[in-house]
Symmetry: C2
Subunit: 330 residues, 2 copies
Amino acid sequence: MSLTQLQVVLRARPDTALEPGHLALVETPLPEPGDGEVLVRGRWLSLDPYMLAQINGRHVTGNLEEGEVLRGEVIGEVLQSHSERWKPGDLVRGMFGWREYAVAAADALTLVPASIREPRWCLSMLGMPGLTAYAAMHWQAGLNPGETVVVAAASGAVGSMAVQLAVRSGCRVVGLVGSHEKARYVIDSLGASDCIIRWEESFAEGLDRTCPEGINVCLDLVGGAFLEAVSARLVVGGRIVLAGVQKSAMAEPLAPVLPALWIKQRARIHGLVVYDFEPRREEFLRDCVPLANEGRLVVNEEVVEGLRQAPEALVRIQAAQHAGKVVVKL
Amino acid sequence: MSLTQLQVVLRARPDTALEPGHLALVETPLPEPGDGEVLVRGRWLSLDPYMLAQINGRHVTGNLEEGEVLRGEVIGEVLQSHSERWKPGDLVRGMFGWREYAVAAADALTLVPASIREPRWCLSMLGMPGLTAYAAMHWQAGLNPGETVVVAAASGAVGSMAVQLAVRSGCRVVGLVGSHEKARYVIDSLGASDCIIRWEESFAEGLDRTCPEGINVCLDLVGGAFLEAVSARLVVGGRIVLAGVQKSAMAEPLAPVLPALWIKQRARIHGLVVYDFEPRREEFLRDCVPLANEGRLVVNEEVVEGLRQAPEALVRIQAAQHAGKVVVKL
């Protein structure tokens, strides 16, 4: 009798929107670690919007092929180690994918620092979403106290960290959100000054109302008409960090005036891919781990119970129906 | 009998293209300097593309109203001084405009450094065009040896300095030009490796041919389809400096994929307005004056004889028929 585990593969690339049936749950034998490898039991799997881009065939890290196990970052525990670097019981982080157990090379794991009160946070505010927000706000935009900072998808995993980091830097923060409930959370729990609720007002109206003196910094996860509206309201020396483009924005041509607006306002535009900042993760953790442990940085987590529920959860992410960070308890 | 001088005013804002008749030569009495002012006799007036934007009502420094004397940078000589800061004979630079004589406040002049072999260069390679190129290449893009640098309008006043600065930094430089003659100049006299001749090949074909390994840096003075073609060929970590948008590009919507391209390539886009770098002019001159004096930086100058010829010359600038820097001998 051999042990088995569950994993999730891409059954078929969706023509339009992802549905649970495009993904398949597969039972496979438990893998055996070879020399220099370890067997990890996953505890928490991170669900992220970039997975949709990989499934749809337009992600910077490369696309997912049909039949392939979905990629994803996992916090897990070392069960068996054939490497001197790791011992059973070590808590580690790695791109193990949508599976319950994984075999990984010893150098493909990272230790979850014992200083972190809740290891799961290494997938959200102290992980890639947090590092994305930190790189955008501090290393690319550079924040000055008193500046007005607009954050797209402000209740999401990246956005909610960006809001908190900007508030902590003495900025006035305006969030873009999809509902009144999310606006309440972003203002009351994260400290934003105001929110623009999509669908209730245009980007132009919302930005005029909330940023009457213009925008110093924007974290853009939307693109298209939002990028245009922000660009038209930048102050001189404004910065825009581009960290995502919504699928709908990929179909709309951009206003020809954009480059002229950026010249006029001496704008600086940064494209951000979080993997570039991996070498600076320690610096980010030194700053943020104490704040998180003390409850001065928070994350709104939605926990999905088990891999069987994960495909449905990813479809909800696609529809922006989740609140904050979605993690799967494996 | 009172002395008179010539000046040029905007008679009527053009509906489409500028024609000489939109400008008027006016004879006016010679102005008298008041307390704290000086009378300057202009020697050289700089003609620049930004004047077209001011006339057309879409320049960052503000527009020109009908009846107003055209603005412009002038090198001149102090004739009378009612200020302790200046004495007759001093060679100065200021925004005196399209006139033969000007009265200016003592603090609106800058001394032309005696170290500069040819004072006229303070309007071209050692003046605003040179400072624009220097700020773009060194302070915004930041050049590394071996990088591929694409320069728009490469035979122009700004572009020709950008080409030379990038070549001096050990970069491989490709120029965008409007004729074979200009391509010869940019390659043979300025040191570019190759040129793309507009109208003879598309931007995409030209960039594919000349930059097979992609583009590290671009100085964009065109916008529109050129910006799109460059963005699609950036390497990871590429930089684009936006320092001008052609009128035709202001009518064409931009491809929606642009922000996604910039994210994918971790691009950095800078809007450049040269006036912001005025405080760093000394730094630029320390580097470039010796090179210019030794003939290691060159400028292709077209000298227009007298203010009466200047309106025609500006129309030629509009049609991109000039070569290099156009100056009016007053």
